[in-house]
Symmetry: C2
Subunit: 319 residues, 2 copies
């Protein structure tokens, strides 16, 4: 897979001989470096967002496995352009351990690092314990904000602050309709009936909130959006960005059916949709399902989300 | 679905009250109009390629059904900007009947139309009977060429000639691993074993060339590419554009595995890959599988494929 990506996209390359140390071919001198990483099997997440006005490097793990600290360190050394490096990845224990270790080793070499975590999945922990939440598709908004801030040559503390703000203001809720098969394992990651769905399931098949018989799309979206609306109010800040993400096997047609209802629900709640992203951003191999992410914008975040971006897997024309 | 698309993308709209008459919101005065159409269930095909430097309108049919001649005529009237309209769609009898009828009615109203068909699927008929072949993912290249030519304000005959050239020089071969379920029908479109694949299957489940036990990806690609190489020689014209298309449920990871081998095979055959497109361009709901399309470029087609484009479903930065 990685050989195919490097062949297709000369704007990305690897550090030394390790194909799993994924970086931009032409680093931007003096810019804060943005590094992410995580398991394979989630394309476009993670490496797919390495590119212009987005990220600078990614440690690529095996399917659903963390990259090693050595890989993250190699990527860190490569992307550091003298302005320090921000680690921006999902809140999973394996990733935390390896990124923290890489950060300590980088520090010994005089490379300053900071860390911001994606933890947008409302289904993975209750209000008050947001720090325990998993990072899922909504990390895209933190990538977008951090990427734009770094491209504007802001310093590391400021890039980290804006990434953290985007992350903290993003809420995601997912629904799964079928499992995926991790190639090395060879059997479905979990069992679910053909007429069932599970709201809140994680992108590695982590248990969700409720499993129930399939409902029509509108009813399903209403139930999902209730979880997000419980944590966001649009009274003083109306502007939002919405991401409707397909988990792998869900037709794009169905994502637009989901968006239609999501827009209605947000409109009724007093929100104003400023940016919409619909497609596959964070998948789980060939799992069927989708997630809805809502980022509550403010005057700082809005222009960062609007900025153009160009990666092999994500192209955004400035608005 | 259509309501969701119009809500998300204000740059496209519908003619009058019929949501299925899909057009650009801001037509370009004096430009040749490009109209496509076909059944739903194939997103981004067909309507997904309506936008800047691509198409101007699409008649949207039900799932796997042709749009009506009335819809095509309404779209034709709307997109005609005085320079005539090119119909560019896949070679299926229902579409042919309805587009031809719409063209005759448009003619009576003084709107000149021409027709170019996508018929890139090498599996659907033998050499010498190319006119019987079905249009599949490779029609994307004809859209791209025609869209760029029309954006350069070339006249109708010239746009049609270039679209026809792109179409005639494109070869596609697909492979299916699982069926899809048409919502109105409610059962899988065909049966195939979990350990089987069918090379040459059409995007509506039309029978392919061979059904066999799953092989490793490289072996599968070799067998698929042999069908394309039998009809293209790169001795005098080396430059090609490649499209690796996912049929719906196939992870992006696997498309890059397919691309890796495709690039190796093309390299060995003496071709030089100038443009690569990898992702979902023409799907079949949640069918698992993929297709490989190769367009043999010449000096006229190369810059048309390179030109930037911006539609809700396809963004291309000029190269």
């Amino acid at each position: 897979m990685l050989e195919g990506i490097y062949l297709a996209h000369p704007e990305v390359t690897h550090v030394g001989d390790d194909l799993r140390c994924f970086v931009r071919t032409n680093p931007v001198p003096g810019k804060v470096g943005l590094v992410t990483g995580g398991g394979s099997g989630h394309l476009p997440l993670f490496l797919g967002f390495v590119g212009e006005n987005m990220l600078d490097g990614a440690g690529v793990g095996g399917v659903f496995q963390s990259p090693s600290s050595e890989q993250v360190l190699d990527v860190t050394r490569h992307v550091d352009q003298g302005a320090g490096v921000l680690y921006l990845y999902g809140n999973y224990s394996g990733d935390l351990m390896n990124f923290d270790m890489a950060g300590e080793l980088a520090d010994l070499e005089g490379i300053r690092t900071m860390t911001v975590l994606g933890r947008d999945d409302v289904a993975s922990s209750v209000v008050g314990e947001e720090h325990k939440r998993r990072g899922v598709a909504g990390i895209f908004f933190a990538y977008k904000a951090a990427g734009a801030a770094a491209a504007a040559m802001k310093p590391l503390d400021e890039v980290a602050r804006l990434a953290e703000k985007a992350s903290a203001r993003t809420r995601t809720i997912g629904v799964a309709l079928s499992p995926c098969i991790v190639p090395e394992v060879g059997r479905p990651s979990f069992q679910i009936g053909a007429d069932e769905m599970e709201i809140g399931m994680g992108i590695h098949g982590e248990p969700g909130i409720t499993r129930k018989t399939l409902t029509p799309a509108n009813e399903m979206v209403d139930e999902m959006m209730a979880r997000i609306l419980a944590e966001q109010s649009y009274e003083t800040e109306k502007d939002v960005a919405v991401l409707i993400n397909g988990l792998g096997a869900t037709p794009l047609e169905e994502l637009y059916v989901i968006y239609r209802r999501t827009a209605q629900v947000l409109d009724q709640a007093g929100a104003r949709i400023r940016h919409v992203f619909i497609g596959e951003f964070a998948t789980s191999m060939e799992m069927a399902g989708a997630s809805i992410s809502v980022l509550q914008l403010d005057d700082e975040l809005q222009p960062l989300i609007a900025m153009g971006a160009n990666t092999p897997f994500f192209k955004h024309i400035a608005q």
